[in-house]
């Protein structure tokens, strides 16, 4: 087990290094001049040259990459072109909001997907199965910005039950924080739930068709016991993987929901950085999201080894 953890951690570190290269290269390949964009109409050649020199953009790409990488390793992601603030601090300030929204959305998704997926597998071909398939079809197809706006319209404007947008830290005011969290979490959670429902259903169906389930029936074990200990216990293994991937996707891909609900998260920061060609800020944001993705995958793999006794040995 110890060696497995060590090996997977080393793999994740190598992957992160690869990600840093790709992020850096992609952003520098994209046309557009960040300094020119930052200066806008106040363009002045001397000022431009000075800014380029100060931000190190006149140096060879390899040197730039090296400086960025060594900085990132010590936790210094540089300074934003746009705001002049340190990027690490800006990201760390936004990270809790994104993490809170991602975890809340995942919880909403699981609250939908686990019962819906399990029931529709157990009642395969029955009306409840078709209802769950219908939900998941709709949930996957509906665009999240539209669904978010619809929720704002109904629950904030018409009914006035919940605030339409914004973020409050749960440390400051837990009640208000939850009230503000509900609509964005439901928006992202329904889509996640729709994806996971299908997955849970097919995993449970596959686990039910296993030969050892037939033997458990032949042993005379009660149906409920079989469902819990021989079907669901085995179905969890793939479900945990996909749930981890969904969480990672939520961490990085929740941009649209953050924009719709004016949520001050990492996604919105990344989007603003793209619009302003704020290279270092964008690099930092993407690197942070990728690191989160890898970390979650690492945790999922370790959990996987706990769930499936065959993994740790091989």
């Amino acid at each position: 087990m110890g060696r497995y953890v060590l090996r997977r951690t080393a793999q994740a570190a190598v992957a992160l290094l690869g990600v840093s290269i790709v992020v850096f290269a992609l952003i520098h390949l994209v046309p557009g001049d960040p300094v020119r964009t930052a200066l806008g109409t106040r363009f002045d050649q001397d000022l431009y040259d000075a800014l380029i020199a100060r931000s190190g953009l006149d140096q060879p790409l390899l040197v730039q990459y090296w400086n960025w990488l060594t900085g990132a390793l010590t936790g210094d992601l540089g300074v934003s072109f746009r705001t002049g603030e340190p990027i690490t601090a800006a990201l760390l300030q936004r990270l809790p909001a994104t993490a809170l929204l991602a975890v809340a959305s995942l919880l909403v998704g699981l609250l939908i997907a686990l019962p819906a997926g399990i029931i529709s597998a157990v009642r395969q071909g029955k009306p409840v199965d078709y209802a769950a398939s219908g939900f998941s079809q709709i949930g996957v197809s509906v665009p999240d910005f539209w669904f978010g706006l619809l929720l704002i319209l109904v629950f904030a404007r018409t009914l006035g039950w919940l605030p339409p947008s914004g973020y409050t830290s749960p440390l400051e005011d837990p009640v208000e924080a939850i009230r503000r969290l509900i609509l964005p979490a439901v928006t992202a959670g329904v889509v996640t739930g729709a994806i996971l429902t299908r997955f849970v259903r097919s995993s449970v169906l596959e686990a039910m068709s296993a030969e050892h389930v037939r033997l458990a029936r032949a042993k005379g074990m009660p149906d409920r016991y079989i469902l819990r200990h021989h079907v669901l216990r085995n179905a969890w293994i793939p479900v945990v993987t996909v749930t981890g991937l969904q969480l990672a996707t939520l961490l990085g891909g929740i941009v649209v929901v953050e924009v719709v609900f004016a949520w001050p998260g990492v996604g919105r920061y990344a989007l603003d950085s793209v619009v302003r060609r704020d290279y270092p800020a964008l690099q930092g944001a993407v690197l942070l999201i990728a690191a989160g993705f890898l970390l979650i995958n690492l945790l999922v793999d370790l959990l996987y080894a706990k769930l499936d006794p065959r993994i740790s040995v091989s």
């Binding site: 030969e211 033997l215 029936r217 042993k219 074990m221 293994i237 006794p309 040995v313």
Partner: protein, 353 residues
């Protein structure tokens, strides 16, 4: 090996499945009595209904689309076919144990074998965890697993195929069933392991006195272990006799075909194995008359094609479902023909030239 006490008495057992192409008649009325301590072999090709006929006894087939009729009395008065799911759950595993074909898939990979071995005993016999574990150690010892105390907390992937099948047998025996049903229990194993497993079941049977139904497509397996044999074809019993009588003198054309397809080591008179021509009928499109007549090489006349032959007792204890019993000399010739060819290559070349 067997005594007179009947532990399982099956009458008019029919199993069918609703399909898009109509009702599939998979088992078409079979009868047998299983005595205490006896080994009954049910032999036939895939699709002959041999497995389904035993799975259906405790409704281990999906119902619907499956439908089971007839009666099956267990231990005298307990009638299984009319039982509710609730009542059957006290029969399965407790009074009728099962061993399935593939030991690689019939154990749950995420639970220890101790857990899988004890869960049935705890459920059916109400044993405490400690008592169930003690009994599990005894069982593993009985089925020949070395140092069972240590292996109890191992997972299935830490065992070889043959060892896993021993564990599955231990599970089947764990609640002292009256009947153990072994459904192709050696088919997935290599030949030496097969022999070990059949020997093991025979030993355990002698020790514990349960009756065994051994389902197989392999007449070779049957020869060593069965007291009595039912040969099934297209959902019917076509021949039933003691193993001795059946091997000494098969009487149904299908049984003779099966026997002729057995390889025999060291025979040089034959170049290839005899195969029965054609395929078994689909259960949705059973032929009129005798189920076997389209493939029968012995006799095929108008009566075979229109009238279903009854299962008739031709000699005491020897039942055959055919209008034309194969005469002794033909049966002997077929048996003599069933020899495998292992002549040296040069001799074969001459033969071809």
């Amino acid at each position: 090996m067997s005594d007179d006490e009947v532990v399982l008495s099956v009458r008019d057992l029919e199993v069918s499945f609703g399909t898009k192409r109509g009702r599939a008649q998979v088992v078409r009325g079979i009868d047998y009595d299983l005595h205490r301590g006896e080994t009954l072999a049910i032999v036939g090709e895939s699709g002959s209904g041999k497995s389904v006929s035993t799975l259906a006894l405790t409704k281990l087939i999906p119902i619907p689309p499956g439908r089971v009729t007839g009666t099956a009395h267990l231990g005298g008065d307990l009638e299984l076919i009319a039982m509710s799911e609730q009542e059957l759950s006290h029969v399965r595993g407790r009074r009728v144990g099962f061993v399935f074909q593939d030991p690689m898939t019939s154990l749950n990979p995420v639970h220890t074998i101790g857990r899988q071995l004890t869960e049935g005993m705890r459920h059916h016999l109400g044993l405490s965890e400690g008592d169930a574990r003690d009994r599990a150690v005894d069982l593993l010892h009985k089925v020949g697993i070395p140092s069972p105390e240590r292996r109890l907390d191992d997972f299935p992937h830490q065992f070889s195929g043959g060892m896993r099948q021993r564990v599955v047998i231990a599970i089947g025996l764990s609640c002292d069933p009256e009947v153990l049903i072994a459904d192709e229990a050696t088919t997935a194993l290599d030949v030496t392991t097969q022999a070990q497993i059949t020997d093991l079941v025979a030993e355990l049977q002698a020790e514990l006195g349960m009756a065994v139904i051994w389902i197989t497509h392999d007449l070779g397996v049957v020869a060593g272990i069965a007291d009595r044999v039912l040969v099934m074809y297209a959902g019917e019993v076509v021949e039933a006799a003691s193993a001795e009588a059946l091997f000494a003198r098969p009487r149904h054309p299908y049984t003779i075909g099966l026997q002729a397809s057995l390889p025999v080591l060291g025979d040089v008179d034959r170049h290839d194995l005899a195969a029965i021509p054609g395929l078994p009928p689909a259960p949705t499109a059973l032929p009129e008359g005798c189920g076997f007549h389209p493939r029968c090489s012995y006799r095929d006349d108008a009566r075979c094609a229109t009238e279903r032959p009854p299962l008739t007792e031709v000699v005491e204890g020897h039942w055959v479902r055919s209008f034309y019993e194969v005469p002794a000399e033909d049966a002997a010739r077929a048996a003599a023909a069933s020899r495998i060819d292992i002549e040296p290559p040069d001799a074969r070349d001459e033969g071809v030239a």
